[in-house]
Symmetry: C2
Subunit: 502 residues, 2 copies
């Protein structure tokens, strides 16, 4: 009578998505190079099976049976029914042929992008980017939107969000951070760290130690090296994080590890009762991601990376560990290390950006992808528009398309509309931090005890998985809608102090 | 008109089986312990999807279209059609409910087995073994057989084989090897190797070196540590082998590595044209195994492990490498090492058995499982029957059920009928070896060049995948049916010489 048949169908769907996640994790960590010959088809087949399973007759029948049951409005069961219904509506709007064409284009588009980047020749990528954009437009039209086709795309990553809701936040950031960034750039820059070597094996040991300190459960997780760090979860009891390392630079591996640990803690902290339910899988993106949205997920990685991992209280406790691991730091004071770790040095590459310039990278991508999607920017004009935006937003001259418009993989994967989630994550990280970082929580961190913070985040965010829509969750967790004020305040206080500004 | 729709459906099925293989590989090499909570369901769901896909309406329609096409009798397409038709007949005979009950029993039965083995208490496993046997009987009845229900089960692993075809081979082995084993045991035993340490990292390096020497392609393969070594292939371009190591013993890791390398070379050597076809997946076992049968697969692992890896010509070339890796061997002569590596010391454990006693372990298991399946042996009488058979076959007193009847995982997985494949593998290894080991091939091996052997095996066995039935393949490769004479001759010559017998 019941919910059982739907629970069974959703469980099977979750299993397919978990297997897909493992294919993806393996491809980026373990797979021998020859495996590329067949992995793409394996992933495409499982994606198709997941979609077919969601739209199958037996799922529809199970949904009908479940919907007729008498369930409390906020129960897991009722929320699951809503999520499955919404996902079916979403995927029915997308013609299978369109999804198939998008999947088919991914491999050649990524290959062309990689080649274009390697040869610093945008025109090698341009024709496939053009096709990718056309398919993204078709997708937006199929999904529907009110104001702008880009909204249909971004809504897949941030359910409920549109440019109308995000533009004021981006506007505030630009208004408040632009003068701050200018002031900081005018101030003397802190010296850099010694040029290593920072042996990668030691970086890995320190990274594991910090991850375990934060509370990452290695009985339910792994940490492996990769080229582009990511986190993927097969379930809350099997979470995989990755990091990359540079022997000459101390902080890239550490920042990546702390960032991905934040993602991993989120997935590990989801209520076990949600395992194999619709509330810790992404039925829109058809992935095993258990967090509420890309932006909410990013808020948790940025919270641990930035509000904990770049903070003075943390390093006061942790820096001796780092010095013990790396003799090159023996003569560097805590203060010098902390200032260097947080140095503001705007550059070409988003993934290496400091906290103050990061969001400008996002703003320019969002502006450009909106224009590409609505057709007001032509592909052949994209590199010039990129370079002009980098000059305008960050006063930086782009030296090559490889370090400019070709640096990110997202568009080559057909992923338009996801960049805003990074800034949503930054904003929300500060907002959540301002709620959970009570004096006892901060005192515990300074003493090397991260459990109070982790428990507060579990209570407010982690355990809920996808039980609530992002906007609901933000309000539940922080008592207000998404609000850039805590983020702006955090950056102003931190960087004014760091750079000795008025 | 055509074969294309069937090729598409089979390709998707192959992708599902590849994903299943990755779930299995990962579980035994990489998965954090917590992952057990959800991995069983993931694997069961993919197994069910594979079965549903094989028996789906679209597969049936595609098959019908393909069968109407005009195709040469021995073409990949015609052979694929035959294989799919046979698999559909096979799986239609097995009620989904029965398969489901077998899958559900696996986890508790394996858990009970592991606990029984750990506590050396057979009765902890007995009730679940009883249920497992009952389901195996149901399976045999559903599949059908002529002489004995066990034949229905073993036919899943050795298509076309029955006890009627295998009994004469087992009989010859018992008649010929029993007196030889007795003579060897009466002769003085070679001294053992020094008790290490043989650092595991050095064992891994040597193992990788030998695997690469044999021709294992690390661009299309991996080698990882595990508890119970195995080989699994996602496709010919992504093959994973594993080994286990014991720091105190030099040869366990080496033998495991050479054995699994043999399996890996087989999968890597399959004709690329068979990728994602019905001719390099196992449609009966619904696995991604590309070899013709378990026994044919085992013949290739045993060929490399025994006929190459335990041979004097190989060690004449390779022993200096081993001595360089392990100072403990510095004072041990090649002859002493070779004699120790091949020492005949019948013991309790099948997986550690020498070449002369190995098949007796198989004979007793086959005899017992036939009696369990036909009901002439009751579960509660199994430990006593095991111990009596060990005494009779190998003159060994079993000290505990943990080292006796509980040593193998197979029955707890519901796998009855697969043990005979190990002896089929031993027999066929010698038969194939006698065909391919020409003087130039042997001279090349003595010079450290394994390419001529590998190319001969590729030509005769590897490239064909599952294109031929095992009996057809054996005849094509060796010019005769499966024949124990080369195996008996090999063992007699080798061990008479080694032990200085008449």
């Amino acid at each position: 009578m019941s919910f059982d048949p739907l629970a069974h169908e959703i469980g099977s769907l979750a299993d397919i998505l978990s297997a897909s996640a493992l294919l993806a994790w393996d491809m980026r960590t373990m797979m021998p190079s020859g495996g590329t010959a067949t992995r793409g088809e394996q992933m495409a087949t499982l994606a198709q099976l997941a979609r077919q399973h969601l739209l199958s007759d037996q799922m529809a029948r199970a949904l009908e049976t479940a919907a007729a049951a008498d369930l409390p409005p906020d129960s897991i069961e009722r929320r699951s029914i809503d999520a499955v219904q919404a996902a079916i509506v979403h995927h029915r709007r997308l013609p299978e042929q369109l999804t198939h064409r998008r999947n088919l284009l991914k491999a050649p588009a990524q290959a062309a992008w990689a080649q274009a980047r390697a040869r610093d020749d945008f025109m090698l990528f341009a024709p496939l980017l053009q096709q990718t954009i056309e398919l993204a437009r078709e997708q937006a039209e199929a999904l529907g939107y009110e104001d702008h086709p880009h909204d249909a795309l971004l809504g897949q990553f941030e359910p409920g969000a549109t440019w109308r809701t995000l533009a004021p936040i981006f506007g505030t950031l630009r208004t408040e951070l632009k003068p701050l960034l200018a002031q900081v750039r005018a101030a003397p820059s802190p010296p850099g760290l010694p040029a290593g070597p920072y042996p990668i094996s030691s970086q890995q040991l320190v990274g594991r130690k910090f991850a375990a300190w934060f509370g990452y459960d290695f009985d339910r997780g792994r940490l492996d090296p990769t080229v582009h760090p990511f986190e993927l979860a097969m379930s809350r009891s099997d979470v995989r994080i990755t990091a990359r390392y540079n022997e000459a630079i101390a902080d890239i591996g550490l920042k990546a590890t702390m960032h991905e640990t934040g993602h991993g803690l989120y997935e590990q902290g989801i209520d076990p009762a949600l395992t194999r339910t619709a509330l810790n899988i992404d039925l829109i993106g058809l992935s095993a991601m258990g967090g509420a949205s890309l932006g909410v997920h990013e808020s948790q990685s940025r919270l641990w990376e930035n509000h904990v991992g770049r903070s003075l209280p943390f390093w006061t406790r942790a820096y001796p560990e780092l010095q013990a691991a790396f003799p090159a730091l023996a003569e560097i004071s805590l203060d010098a290390f902390y200032r260097s770790f947080n140095a503001v040095r705007p550059g070409l590459i988003r993934t290496e950006a400091d906290e103050l310039s990061y969001d400008f990278h996002i703003m320019l991508r969002t502006e450009l992808e909106r224009a590409l999607i609505d057709g007001s920017l032509r592909v052949e004009d994209l590199p010039a528009a990129w370079n002009e935006a980098m000059r305008r937003e960050l006063d930086i001259v782009v030296d090559s398309d490889a370090n400019g418009v070709l640096q990110d993989i997202h568009w080559s994967m057909g992923q338009f509309g996801s960049f805003c989630s990074y800034t949503v994550g930054n904003v929300l990280a500060a907002q959540v931090w301002s709620t959970v970082a009570t004096e006892p929580v901060k005192a515990a961190i300074a003493a090397g005890d991260f459990a109070p913070l982790r428990l507060a985040l579990t209570e407010k965010i982690y355990r809920h998985g996808r039980r609530y829509h992002p906007a609901e969750l933000v309000r539940l967790a922080t008592g207000q809608p998404l609000n850039p004020a805590p983020y702006v305040g955090y950056l102003q206080n931190k960087y004014r102090a760091l750079y000795g500004l008025g």
